[in-house]
């Protein structure tokens, strides 16, 4: 199960993160190393992403979880290079299929966007252009990576719409976004993302703006789609419940830092970081009927004035003096965590799954 020191050329020797799903020593599809993105605001510099590192392997679904403001969306944008002023990526490396994306020339980056890596956003009403038909927008996406003729584009568009489960796709092609329901719109956005058959798709809370029932549907469809297409997914969400259904591996972020990582089942059953435990406890499904919902005390600190050391220490019940120094990342493949007083470690020692 564990092969820590991987001798394949593509993986860095000091990081031996395991893919957690199967045996095998394939090179990661996406390698993020020490990524940092800052925003210059009126009240100071906000480090939205502060030294985040992780891998994504082919065919897997990784969940990126955290509260709003944890930096998960910004991480997604940073990977694709979609950070606008006043934000900028200050350091780190993002390698997609071996190519370094940070600092890449703009026209080169453009050939990769949509073609090898794509993104789905949260609110499809603002993502889709309201004055263009569905087909018009799909055409633009296809023409960005090739010169298919009209008939080919129609065929591909219909096929893509069919794959995301849109009934009566011919009619939908000529529809405008406002004529479709929220779920339909998001399906169209997903279809556009998958249109050029990318290897990796980053989904930024794509179901948050939708009805719960539609959410469930789309989750199931995504799973099938991913399996059939062999695509990798990074699923960003603040909702642990939905992510855990979909993802085989979880990454937990807090205040711009990656604080815990591991296979989904393990992270949920034996979380190491107190914040993760807090997230799990605050799930409505965890609350005993008739009792109050559990909340993590306090609130997320402003990114411009984070406490020194561990960013969570002011809300943590286990915090001590040592927590004002930065916690070191502990790696026990396939788990990693950054905490001076991790939980459940005694349990891990007993049965390491």
């Amino acid at each position: 199960m564990s092969s820590p020191k991987n001798s394949l050329s593509k993986s860095e020797p000091q990081f031996s993160l395991h893919n957690g799903t199967t045996t095998g020593v394939t090179a990661p599809l996406l390698q993020v190393r020490d990524l940092a993105t800052e925003f210059a605001t009126r009240s100071g510099v906000a480090r939205a992403v502060d030294g985040v590192s992780f891998n994504v392997f082919a065919g897997e679904i990784v969940g990126l979880v955290g509260e709003s403001g944890s930096g998960k969306s910004v991480t997604g944008y940073s990977i694709l290079g979609l950070i606008d002023l006043p934000g900028r990526i200050t350091k780190g490396s993002v390698r997609l299929e071996g190519q370094e994306l940070i600092g890449m020339a703009r026209h080169q980056l453009r050939t990769l966007r949509g073609r090898r890596i794509a993104m789905v956003f949260q609110d499809p009403m603002s993502t889709l252009n309201p004055v263009l038909t569905v087909f018009a927008q799909m055409r633009l996406a296809m023409l960005a990576h090739g010169r298919p003729d009209d008939a080919q584009m129609r065929a591909r568009a219909l096929e893509a719409l069919g794959k995301v489960g849109i009934p009566d796709p011919e009619r939908r092609l000529e529809a405008y976004p406002h004529e479709l329901s929220g779920g339909m719109r998001q399906r169209v956005a997903i279809a556009i993302a998958f249109l050029n058959q990318p290897a990796l798709v980053i989904c930024d809370e794509p179901t948050t703006a939708l009805d719960v029932s539609i959410q469930a549907q789309i989750l199931v469809e995504m799973k099938t789609l991913v399996r059939e297409a062999g695509v990798s997914l990074v699923w960003i969400s603040h909702d642990l419940a939905t992510v855990s259904v979909l993802a085989s591996r979880l990454l937990v972020m807090y205040a711009g830092r990656l604080i815990e990582e591991g296979p989904t089942a393990e992270v949920l059953s034996r979380p190491r970081h107190p914040y993760t435990q807090g997230l799990i406890d605050s799930l409505p499904s965890r609350a005993a009927p008739g009792r109050d919902l559990v909340q993590i005390p306090g609130s997320t600190p402003a990114l411009t004035s984070l406490p020194s050391g561990c960013a969570f220490r002011e809300r943590c019940a286990h915090a001590t003096a040592i927590c004002s120094t930065a916690p070191v990342q502990t790696i026990e493949s396939p788990r990693t965590w950054s905490c001076h007083h991790p939980l459940n470690t005694h349990v891990a020692a007993e049965n390491d799954l």
Binding site: L82, R113, F121, S126, N129, P130, V131, L140, A141, A144
Partner: protein, 310 residues
């Protein structure tokens, strides 16, 4: 609506002051004075005059100009082509130049070129157009001697109407007045296009398009342009009216024999039939423009179409 306007205009123009004094000199005998009054129907009560006015209106008879002593409608029509020439060039020129410049300024707002464009547009926007006309004449006609300082150039008959754009001399005469008219609209469009572009570039739509790998040019041409077209067309259409109004000033400065100069002259001599006819025609034009803008708005924004049909 037109009825209300016609009533307002009529009352305003005829009821203020005494029209009879304009036409005949005060030291004419009382008899001639009364004759003239009867001939023009001024002795009838106001509402009767209004009634006659409306009656004549339906037949397209706006009466005769006091000053020129010819049917007002003919008078206006004869001067209309001149105004149309410079107005159309001004409007089209402003659009073709202003929108791309504004989009560029909105796309790269901190670049030197963009700031220069915006700086110049402040001038075009705030400086009264008569002043710009003066400067134009000063620079081009007086100092550089390149272009004529006023008047219309040679005309050529086309479809029974005299146009001046078909001759080089005519074009040269047209250039300065058209530029003068265009500047304000140009500045306006640049500012609008810039503001709109800047806003749209920050939306998720553009981000999503970028994430799909679409080129910046594609984004500008297909997404931004289509999205800012709606407010641009609206304002542009509404400003068409004010362009016609500003033609009044421009034509005065450049001695351009168009409808604008006509109205100014009419106002200063209180040639009321002309004033009334002009105002009514302008109102009619406005209502038409507003309607057209409404239709264009619905055509451009599909969200409105759905609401109208459902």
């Amino acid at each position: 609506m037109m009825l209300v306007i016609s009533a307002l205009v009529f009352i305003g123009v005829y009821a203020v002051g005494n029209p009879i004094d304009v036409m005949i000199s005060p030291d004419v005998t009382q008899e001639i004075r009364e004759q003239t009054i009867r001939a023009y129907g001024f002795d009838l009560p106001l509402w009767q005059q209004y009634g006659i006015f409306l009656q004549r209106l339906i037949t397209g008879d706006f009466g005769r100009s006091f000053v020129y002593n010819m049917p007002v409608l003919d008078l206006i029509m004869s001067r209309l082509p001149a105004t149309l020439e410079i107005t159309l060039i001004a409007v089209v020129g402003a659009a073709l130049l202003g929108v791309p410049l504004g989009m560029f300024a909105g796309y790269a707002p901190n670049s030197f070129a963009a700031r220069a464009i915006m700086g110049v547009s402040v001038l075009g926007f705030s400086v009264p157009s008569f002043w710009i006309g003066l400067v134009l004449i000063f620079v081009f006609a007086v100092n550089l001697g390149l272009l004529p300082a006023g008047g219309r150039g040679e005309t050529v008959m086309l479809f029974g109407v005299e146009w001046s754009f078909l001759t080089v001399n005519g074009l040269m005469h047209m250039l300065l007045p058209a530029v003068n008219l265009a500047l304000f609209k140009l500045a306006l469009l640049i500012r609008l296009a810039r503001a709109g572009t800047r806003e749209v570039m920050l939306t998720d739509t553009v981000r999503f398009a970028r994430a799909a790998g679409e080129s910046e040019w594609t984004i500008l041409r297909h997404h931004v342009l289509r999205l800012i077209a709606i407010p641009l067309v609206t304002v542009f259409g509404l400003e068409l009216g004010s362009t016609l109004a500003f033609a009044v000033v421009t034509e005065t400065i450049f001695s351009w024999p168009g409808v604008g100069k006509l109205i100014i002259d009419s106002i200063s001599v209180l040639d009321r039939p002309v004033m009334v006819a002009y105002l009514m025609l302008v109102s009619l034009l406005f209502i038409t423009i507003n309607l057209t803008v409404d239709i264009a708005y619905a055509a451009l924004d599909p969200r409105l179409r759905a609401r109208k049909s459902s």
